[in-house]
């Protein structure tokens, strides 16, 4: 025998429809309204029913209609008064009683032939008001098609503003040829199961039922789950690359002494980067940094600034101030972390990196942030040259997916030679990705390294700019996006 498989919902709808004689409006069926149309369309797709759209006019009482339903129509009020007065009353008395409804009441009553007017008096001669039946019916049912009411009467009620029409669209389902064959038992129906349940499995029912085939075109429900921040992910990727290249991650404090941020780096005390518009000075805590642990280093750095000490340099030829070195600031370059780590006495060779935030008093806009990540790397080894520096930069760029690099000379206060690294971006052309160089002897020798036998290759990368390229954004503030939807929709790379 021919067989067709349907879901439980479809089966319920089909059975009811057969009980209803093979055709029905969907709304008339006692089924869950939110699901019934989906079932109807599934049945239609299988050729079991036909679905037609039908629109019907319904009537319901207006606010005025509702009022007259309880207090009576104007003509009813007129009749009530006449009856009270014994079937006859003078016009002016009635006008006073009915007020502004008087004219409507008389007009309607006359039209229905319920009264006669003569000699300034109104006389009652009938009391049949067909409107009453209609508004009472609507009052009871709420809405109705009023198919038992005369068309003219409906129009009059509408004109008087007592009722209003409303169009309602609905679906009508009708059994097709196939549907009728199911109804007659020529085709049998097997129930399909949408989802396996524990009960179905345990009872062995699942074997008897048919598992519904998935509609592969249907979208699944949306899910909101947890995700890493796309920028954080990029920073993690950079960490991975550097760890893979043998670098040890180091840290340093955000509230820093100028000594570590500048002086150890041989950055002169009157260097413009140390002025108020280029670095954040600290108001609280209000005391200077405690550098008492670093007495010897302070001494060496001081002499190196003043006259070069034993470094072979002329130094800056000025009077170095300990008070300036002790001032607190917010870390403005990650080289501070390198300086602190180098001062702890590293074995040679050694490689360190730091990825953390630095702070500069900028006015935030698309390309400037007051705090941003810098990635600093240092290679400490014997017999290093500028060619090795460029070698590391090229390798790092390659790991990030840039095969073409070029280098240009640059100036940074604490490296010599200094080199800027550029990579070729497919759309943006040559882009500077790193400032780099070999730490100056005026930095290395006070830190206790045997320069030039031991050299340090160093670079700093504005990692935020690289992240922007990777994430395809052009506003640096979006790296700290406050938009939850943006983060939820972000791609994991």
């Amino acid at each position: 025998m021919e067989e067709i498989s349907l879901s439980p919902g479809e089966i319920r709808l089909l059975k009811l429809l057969i009980d209803y004689g093979g055709t029905s409006r969907l709304d008339d069926l006692p089924l869950d309204k939110s699901k019934v149309s989906a079932w109807a369309f599934l049945l239609r797709d299988r050729g079991i029913v036909e679905v037609r759209e039908e629109s019907r006019i319904y009537y319901k009482l207006t606010e005025r209609g509702l009022r007259h339903l309880t207090e009576g129509l104007p003509e009813e009020k007129l009749i009530r008064e006449l009856k009270l007065a014994g079937g006859e009353a003078p016009i002016n008395v009635l006008r006073e009683k009915l007020g502004e409804e008087f004219n409507v009441a008389v007009g309607e009553a006359k039209r229905k032939d319920l009264i006669q007017i003569s000699d300034g008096k109104v006389r009652l001669q009938g009391d049949d008001i067909p409107e009453r039946k209609v508004i009472e019916a609507l009052g009871k049912e709420g809405k109705s098609q009023l198919d038992w009411v005369d068309k003219g009467l409906i129009d009059r009620l509408k004109r008087r503003g007592l009722i209003e029409a409303e169009e309602e669209r609905s679906y009508v389902v009708i059994l097709t040829e196939l549907g009728r064959r199911i109804a007659s038992g020529e085709v049998s129906v097997v129930e399909e199961v949408g989802k396996l349940t524990r009960d179905l499995i345990i009872a062995g029912e699942w074997k008897k039922k048919r598992l519904k085939r998935y509609d592969l075109k249907a979208e699944p429900p949306l899910v909101i789950a947890g995700k890493p921040h796309p920028y954080q992910e990029f920073l993690e990727e950079v960490r991975e690359i550097l760890i893979g290249m043998g670098f040890v991650e180091v840290k340093s404090p955000i509230v820093e002494a100028e000594f570590w941020n500048f002086d150890v780096l041989f950055q002169a005390q009157d260097h413009p980067a140390r002025e108020v518009h280029d670095s954040y000075q600290v108001k609280v805590p209000s005391r200077p940094a405690d550098l008492s642990k670093y007495g010897q280093l302070v001494e060496k750095v001081s002499k190196t600034h003043e006259n070069g000490w034993i470094t072979g340099s002329r130094g800056w030829e000025y009077k170095w101030s300990f008070d300036i070195a002790r001032r607190l600031m917010l870390r403005s370059q990650m080289t501070a972390a390198s300086a602190r780590t180098l001062a702890s006495g590293l074995p040679v060779p050694y490689k360190i990196f730091a990825i953390d935030k630095v702070f500069r008093p900028e006015t935030p806009d698309k390309t400037h942030a007051i705090e941003f990540h810098q990635c600093e790397g240092v290679v400490l080894a014997e017999n290093m040259s500028v060619r090795h520096l460029m070698g590391f930069l090229a390798e790092f760029a390659k790991q990030l997916g840039f095969d073409q690099v070029k280098f240009r000379p640059a100036y940074f206060p604490f490296t010599e030679p200094s080199v800027e690294a550029y990579v070729k971006h497919p759309e943006l052309g040559w882009i500077e990705i790193a400032g780099s160089g070999m730490f100056r002897p005026e930095m290395m020798i006070p830190l206790g390294y045997e320069y030039p036998r031991v050299q340090a290759l160093a670079w700093g990368i504005g990692i935020g700019r690289l992240a922007m390229m990777r994430l395809g954004i052009d506003d640096i503030r979006e790296l700290h996006s406050q938009n939850l939807e943006f983060l939820r929709n972000s791609r994991v790379r």
């Binding site: 947890g226 040890v248 509230v255 820093e256 805590p285 005391r287 040259s385 060619r387 000379p409 005026e442």
Partner: protein, 549 residues
Amino acid sequence: MPVVTFPKSELERLLGVKLDEDYLENLLEDTKVNLESFTEEEVEFEIPADRMDLITIEGLARMLKGVMGRELGIPHYKVVRRSIETKVSESVKKVRPYVVVGLVKHVDLSTEESLISLIEAQEKLHDTIGRNRRRVAIGLHDFSKVTPPIVYDARSASEVVFTPLGEPFEMTAKEVLEQLDKGKEYGHIIRNPEGLVPLILDSEDNVLSMPPIINSELTRLTPGIRDVLIDVTGTDLKAVTQALNIIAYSLAERGGEIHTSSVIYPDGTELETPTPTSTEVKAEIPFIRSVVGLDISEEEIKESLLRARLDVKLSEGLVVRVPPYRNDFLHPVDVAEEVAITYGLNRLGYELPNNVMTVGRRHPVEKASTKYRELMIGLGYQEVLNYIMTSKEALFTSIGRPERPVVEVANPVSESYSVLRDSLIPGLLHFLSKNTHVSYPQKIFEIGDVVLVDESSETGARDERRLGAAYSDISVGFEDVYSHLKFLMSSLGIEIKLEEHSEPPLLEGRCAKVLANGDEVGVIGEVNPEVLLRIGITNPVAVFEVKVI
């Protein structure tokens, strides 16, 4: 880095070639100078901070001629020594202590553009090494109006009378300070209790300039001027000498003859300015090769340095002569750099060294952070990143959190970024308040640093890595986030206990301290609805914040 703009025609005149953008870009490729913009009229350059000698058009042209290979070594300048005298009086000491003077004769400044370029360089020197004229101010004068010797004196502002540059009448120095724009802008630099102003005068007591404010109309520069007197005053003798050397040797590039001045200070010290001779720097050839990383020949080293417009002697190592207008040679490594640059970094090529085997590793704080992050994502939380810099309003007032000491900066650009956060929770609540239109549930977390004031630390503050989480939905409460925290910490092998606690904006009775092995590691609770409504959140929010350990 300073940016200078010069007329293109003048640069072409000095170089003797027509310039187009690609050609110029190419010339600059192996220099530290960047081409910022190029039009038919003007060319804009960014000059590196260690090469202030390139801030003049003549200095830039001198460097480019070396790059082009058209001229090598230090140009031959005619220097006439101690041609004029400058006397410094005792009174300037407290007002503006240093002056240096130089004279350049027979200069070709015939074109309008040459004067424009000179003024541009003067202004940019004021902005940079001059620190907006405070440290260094330069005065340029028509020497034909001057009768040497020169005098640098400080006198009472109300007694000095002269016609300031560009003004129709004589004024007193006091009026200059009070009435002229330049006086109002720079007057503070020389303000002193005695009411003195520094003056450059000639032997007939004519005021040549009142540094760092304004020159005198008397010695105004006009096209075609031949002999230029330069005075440089300031607070730093090294810087004023550098500025004078740069200007004087640039003018000498226009065929000028440098006349030095003997500058005599009240204590008898005599300076000769501009610096008349070059200095020597010795560098070992093997050291240069080790920095450069290639065994380039002595000849190549020598040629590179000559093209860098330095003079070279090869005898017992390398002796490099550095002209007075360059101050970027502190150490032999600076010679090595010059060789590397002029030889060409890209021509040197690159390689990875093979003797630097080391083992890399993540910092313990980052390693721990990664574990916390992975677990939070597993719990269905979205990671967010907020700024460390914030305001007291955001941290405390706006969310009813009692104020406590936090790190404050002395020079904030705006109030919104004036302190460092001491907790992640305020940032998370503000994040939620900006996203109330986005579908719920909202579960967010941040792993980041807070900065705590800490007397015992070296810098009076210390960073602490924290995890903060917030959960908001139509109905959400303490036990929801507590179960997440419990899962998180027990997954990390950390036993936690809660202890009753009160910490606004968390609700009394629905707030607790988080303890791990008896130590306080964080806080957990439901946010007071009054606070939520104040920041526009109508769904309940539960939060926790713990140290990453």
